[in-house]
């Protein structure tokens, strides 16, 4: 019986390990999961079997080193379905802030005592830049519900729902105070995809865009509104060039304001 269960793997690339906690923190759902699937590889939880064939591979982390690049090809080969989890795997992550920085080599020298041990690709890029991805779950970190819902759908043989509506929709359903209109906070909710359940506005603070762009992210208009609210070009660029800085249209809008700041 056991070997007929679908086989799962959870892989880590360049990342902080936080998204894998969606599984580790799942509590009772893990017992249910153990009846529906077999975990073959999941280093953080103790299963080491990185090249075994699996039905579904979850991938955390971006492609940031030459070794990542080799490994991701093998992981793709090993899995029928590949699901990226989190901002790093889906958008290149916070580490993509280095992309396009001219003095990158100097930085490595400044930061590390023995820079010769550091092997980084010039850019941190999402998994989809290198191999075919079947489903992308955004968020920094992803939520447990998001991952388990998607996994449940895959195990049940249905296409996972992966909403790209803006955080505002969820914010309004939850009845939170709009921090943008009532506190003039530079909330990124109108251009950020939902998934977090409007977590930041629930605590009275502005969304900082950790789930990446929503389906129709009109970043130019929101940035203009931030200008009216008195934000400097630098502050505006930082709103867009943060957790998912390498993703369009956040990238273009953010760099546009960054250049204004430079002149």
């Amino acid at each position: 019986m056991k070997n007929t269960l679908p086989r799962l793997a959870v892989h880590k690339f360049s990342s902080c390990d936080g998204c894998q906690l969606a599984f580790l923190n799942a509590g009772e759902a893990l017992l249910t999961l153990s009846r529906r699937a077999e975990i073959i590889h999941f280093s953080e939880a103790g299963w080491e079997n990185p090249l075994a064939k699996v039905d579904i591979a979850f991938v955390e982390g971006s492609i940031s080193t030459p070794k990542d690049l080799e490994r991701i090809k093998a992981v793709r080969e090993s899995a029928n379905t590949l699901v990226t989890i989190g901002a790093c795997a889906t958008a290149g992550g916070l580490q993509a802030l280095r992309n396009g920085v001219k003095q990158f080599a100097d930085w490595v020298g400044d930061v590390y005592a023995s820079p010769e041990y550091i092997q980084s690709l010039p850019e941190s890029r999402p998994i989809s830049a290198h191999v075919k991805v079947d489903l992308e779950l955004w968020g920094c970190p992803v939520t447990g519900k998001q991952v388990l819902d998607a996994l449940g759908d895959l195990l049940n043989g249905i296409t996972p729902v992966n909403s790209s509506e803006p955080v505002c929709s969820e914010c309004k359903r939850s009845g939170h105070v709009c921090v943008l209109v009532s506190k003039k906070e530079p909330c990124m909710g109108p251009v950020t995809r939902t998934g977090c359940g409007a977590l930041c506005p629930a605590f009275g603070r502005a969304c900082y865009g950790c789930f990446g762009p929503a389906e129709q992210a009109n970043t130019a208009s929101l940035a203009k509104q931030f200008e009216h609210m008195g934000l400097s070009a630098k502050d505006i660029s930082r709103r867009f060039l943060f957790i998912t800085s390498a993703t369009q249209p956040f990238s273009d809008t953010g760099h546009g304001y960054l250049e204004q700041e430079d002149v």
Binding site: S169, K172, V181, P190, E215, Q216, N218
Partner: protein
């Protein structure tokens, strides 16, 4: 027409007690975290005494208001809508049974609500929502269950916001119908009218005096001033034909440059009723929960039919919103879908103003 009475502020608590005796849970406005929010209250002290509200395009701010008033503001982002049309609710669960699938209906838990503080625009919106959810061929049982036994205590508007334009749509600032009790506040209390036998029955127990003619004149004056103070307006005619003949107007592109497609306008609009249905299959594979949630014509799902997105761009989505609200609504409901509450203007992060957009399109 029953004779108006006068309810001094000092007797408002008696009204609350009468409602509680009759088994109503009281829902009313409170000043919370920089906005007016409707929630359950028991004591009149919880009302927003001394609170004012400044609203403008994309802006809403609580300020100090007249000390001896608790209704010296116009409206918050929501009032009646989420109480009857839940933002998200389960409808049924489907599970494996011995002989195939079993569907268990999930009925909402309901209580008899007495809602105090609904504005005349809210009452017009309530009529539209009733028409939509209850008067068609397939009445909505969840909405219906919440609607049943609802007692409406309306409060006429003496302090419209800069975003209000109910005078031009004919929906305010005074309520004409669809209430059990209607109040008009002055510095000492309220002129009270009743609009239903339930309302009369409750008021009869409060031993109120008839309103003096001076009190009634003050109330009428305040409402006249409220109407004439409104700076925004919407042409009240049926705009159906003229708007539908301008589907290629260049102004749609101009709005689309500003519009974020965030859907805030539709979420706060008291007449918007669109929803999406979602299915959450359990991880264990033995059951699945079917829910519905507020949806918006600005969202991706709304214009999607199998294999095709009918409204891929913001321009088409804004046009859908405005032409439904102000044009095709007439075909569906015999009136415009806008009751002049101004919520979509105050709650739009970039301050898009339906009255200005309509005016630009009509030019």
């Amino acid at each position: 027409m029953p004779i108006p009475h006068y309810l001094p502020h000092s007797s408002l608590q008696q009204l609350f007690e009468a409602l509680t005796e009759d088994g109503y849970a009281i829902v009313g406005p409170q000043a919370k975290e920089n906005r007016i929010d409707f929630g359950e209250i028991r004591n009149t002290a919880e009302l927003p005494w001394g609170i004012g509200l400044i609203q403008d395009a994309g802006a809403s701010q609580l300020v100090d208001g007249p000390k001896n008033r608790c209704f010296a503001w116009a409206n918050g982002p929501q009032a009646m809508k989420p109480l009857l049309f839940a933002p998200r609710e389960p409808l049924w669960q489907i599970r494996h049974g011995k002989n195939g699938y079993v569907v268990d209906a999930i009925n909402p838990e309901t209580r008899r609500l007495a809602v105090i503080g609904l504005r005349p625009c809210d009452l017009s919106a309530l009529r539209i929502q009733d028409q939509h959810f209850l008067e068609g061929q397939y009445p909505d049982s969840h909405y219906g269950a919440r609607r049943e036994g609802l007692l409406v205590i309306a409060v006429n508007c003496t302090h419209p916001a800069a975003t209000c334009f109910c005078a031009s749509t004919g929906d305010g600032p005074g309520a004409k119908e669809s209430f059990d009790i209607a109040l008009t506040e002055d510095d000492n209390g309220f002129v009270v009218e009743t609009g239903s036998p339930e309302g009369e029955q409750i008021l009869a127990r409060l031993a109120l005096k008839e309103a003096l003619s001076t009190q009634m004149e003050t109330a009428a004056d305040n409402l006249r001033n409220a109407a004439s103070s409104q700076r925004r307006s919407l042409v009240s005619d049926n705009l159906r034909d003229v708007l539908m003949s301008r589907l290629d107007h260049p102004h749609w592109d101009e709005v689309a440059e500003r519009c974020l497609a965030c859907g805030n306008c539709t979420a706060v609009c008291p007449t918007c009723f669109c929803h999406a249905e979602i299915e959450e299959a359990s991880l264990g594979g033995n059951h699945s929960l079917h829910s519905r949630e507020w949806d918006s014509c600005f969202g991706e799902r709304h214009g999607y039919i199998h294999g095709k997105q009918l409204r891929p761009e913001i321009k088409q989505r804004y046009r859908q919103w405005l032409t439904h609200k102000l044009a095709t609504w007439h075909d569906q409901f015999g009136r415009s879908g806008c009751v002049g509450c101004g919520r979509c203007i105050a709650c739009c992060p970039v301050g898009i103003d339906i009255t200005e957009e309509a005016a630009a399109l009509l030019k």
